[in-house]
Symmetry: C2
Subunit: 317 residues, 2 copies
């Protein structure tokens, strides 16, 4: 059995990753780290050895890695909200870049031979012009939010640790995720919740920020499968877009969801939800991961949105 250590196991992607890893019977022995243990009912039947640790505590992290001696690390721990990063840039930076640095430095100092998956973000590309689309891994990086800077910094550290120190690190630039169970701090989940509230008569309209922005959304189940493919077939020190290759404006997704939910309403633009700087359009190319890792997205956007609506309908009923 291969020992896999997952950081940030109380997060959204982890819920799906851990279930997926567990479903691959007898391949992985799963270890997890979290700073806020939550009793996910789904975890009860899974065999996961959990450590409680804040990754800002580099010594504690080192102890955990020394005791586990993982073959693989998937580093999902992250304050991954762009909006939050504008409010709390120091905390956002520490809980992205610094915790990653603690992780790779622990692996280096302990000389643990393992493959590390470093998760990055499409936000690293920043503001791009129409003719630069779809974004490939060689497109220039131009981060415009504190969160995006933190992710580019993490990716540059990954390169240094791979090329300078010889660690086996594969990097992603993961585009927007969607899926049932995502926190409402994330835009599509917030829309889904509001649309269900609208349907239940709990509100008269929905509140939005800038809905003209276009993003490339991938179902979290497809994201998780991409990560496992990258661990198996990704090249050391290289970066891979993890995306659908298709762009939708937030406005379009609201319309699809309203149709799915059977409601009809306008929306109020709330200036407070507009960010200081934002990227009008982000669409990625998934050619590299498709060709090198034999991965492709399997879930249609309508299916993802439908599950998100069902989730909120269940929760708010």
């Amino acid at each position: 059995m291969r020992k896999i250590l997952v950081t940030g196991v109380s997060g959204f992607v982890s819920q799906y990753l851990l279930k997926y890893l567990s479903s691959l019977d007898g391949i992985y022995e799963i270890y997890g780290i979290t700073r806020n243990r939550i009793d996910f009912p789904e975890y009860k039947n899974l065999q996961i050895k959990l450590f409680d640790a804040d990754l800002q505590n580099s010594l504690l992290l080192r102890d955990i890695i020394e005791s586990v001696q993982p073959d693989t690390i998937i580093h999902l721990a992250s304050d991954s909200s762009v909006a939050y990063s504008w409010q709390k840039p120091i905390e956002s930076f520490q809980n992205n870049t610094n915790i990653f640095l603690h992780l790779v430095e622990a692996v280096r100092l302990l000389n643990v031979k393992c493959r590390i998956l470093s998760i990055g973000s499409s936000e690293e590309y920043g503001v791009v012009t129409q003719d630069a689309l779809p974004l490939t891994e060689s497109s220039p990086l131009n981060p415009v939010s504190p969160y995006a800077v933190a992710r580019v910094s993490q990716e540059m550290l990954s390169s240094v640790y791979a090329n300078g120190y010889g660690l086996d690190i594969v990097m992603t630039r993961s585009f927007n995720h969607i899926g049932s169970g995502q926190r409402e701090a994330f835009v599509i989940s917030s829309f889904a919740k509001q649309i269900i509230e609208l349907k239940l008569g709990k509100r008269a309209s929905i509140e939005v920020g800038n809905v003209d922005i276009v993003r490339d959304f991938l179902d979290v189940t497809d994201v998780v499968k991409a990560y496992i493919c990258l661990l198996e077939k990704g090249k050391k020190g290289e970066v891979y877009n993890v995306c659908s290759g298709k762009g939708y404006s937030l406005k379009e997704l609201i319309e699809i969801m309203m149709k799915l939910a059977g409601v009809n309403s306008g929306y109020n633009i709330n200036a407070k939800l507009i960010r200081p700087s934002d990227n009008p359009i982000i669409i990625g190319s998934n050619k590299k991961i498709k060709e090198e890792c034999n991965w492709q997205p399997e879930i249609a956007i309508e299916e993802s949105l439908s599950k998100m609506l069902d989730h909120w309908a269940e929760k708010l009923k």
Copy 2:
């Protein structure tokens, strides 16, 4: 009088900056922060209000900025050794990127209206090909050491704070400095010291790392003047190379110094002094700062090297 706050006042560049600022009679009221107060004899006659603080303590830093209410901040505090960053990447990153983030976040939260000079490094450019020389501010960044990553991260944060939050920040990419008083952790000062030891019969040969690398060296006095020009005339949110525009290999500088010192010897290459990754050649273009800020280097390389030799001769006699 304009209130200027200088961080890292026990450092090499600060020694020159504070003397220069003091010489501009009646223009600046000088405040300094240091985490290791050293009694520089030169500082005794200067009017500087000193605060003892580690910039990793963001709350203490905020208190200092609130009490000073500076018009200008020159942020010189940095663990600026590339070699050290390979040994202690976490500490290097914290004492470059994180402390800078603490500084700009304090200015933002306190809403202090001041101009900030953010010091970066030519190391940000990384490994470049001959045809990319001289490096201009629009050359791509490709950091290959932990220190270089930390500096690129700082520069990206500067852009976000200037463009996203509206802070008045001017950035530099400062190339290698030389000058009397530089610590021997820096290569040219180490060579100067060894050459004087050779002359005094205290050693038989000098120990070097890779002496084929080419760098663009600027006398620290010229660096300091460039910083004041940038504070006065640099554009908000823009980055400026601070360099001589000329490249010398370490080997050439050893030869010049041996000639100046009247000694003749070979050198031993010590594998321990060779870095995991290094940039073969770095030469910058200073066109932008020359044209926009009316600055130019004034001190010839031989003069700088000669003063460094004199410094060590005085110290080792």
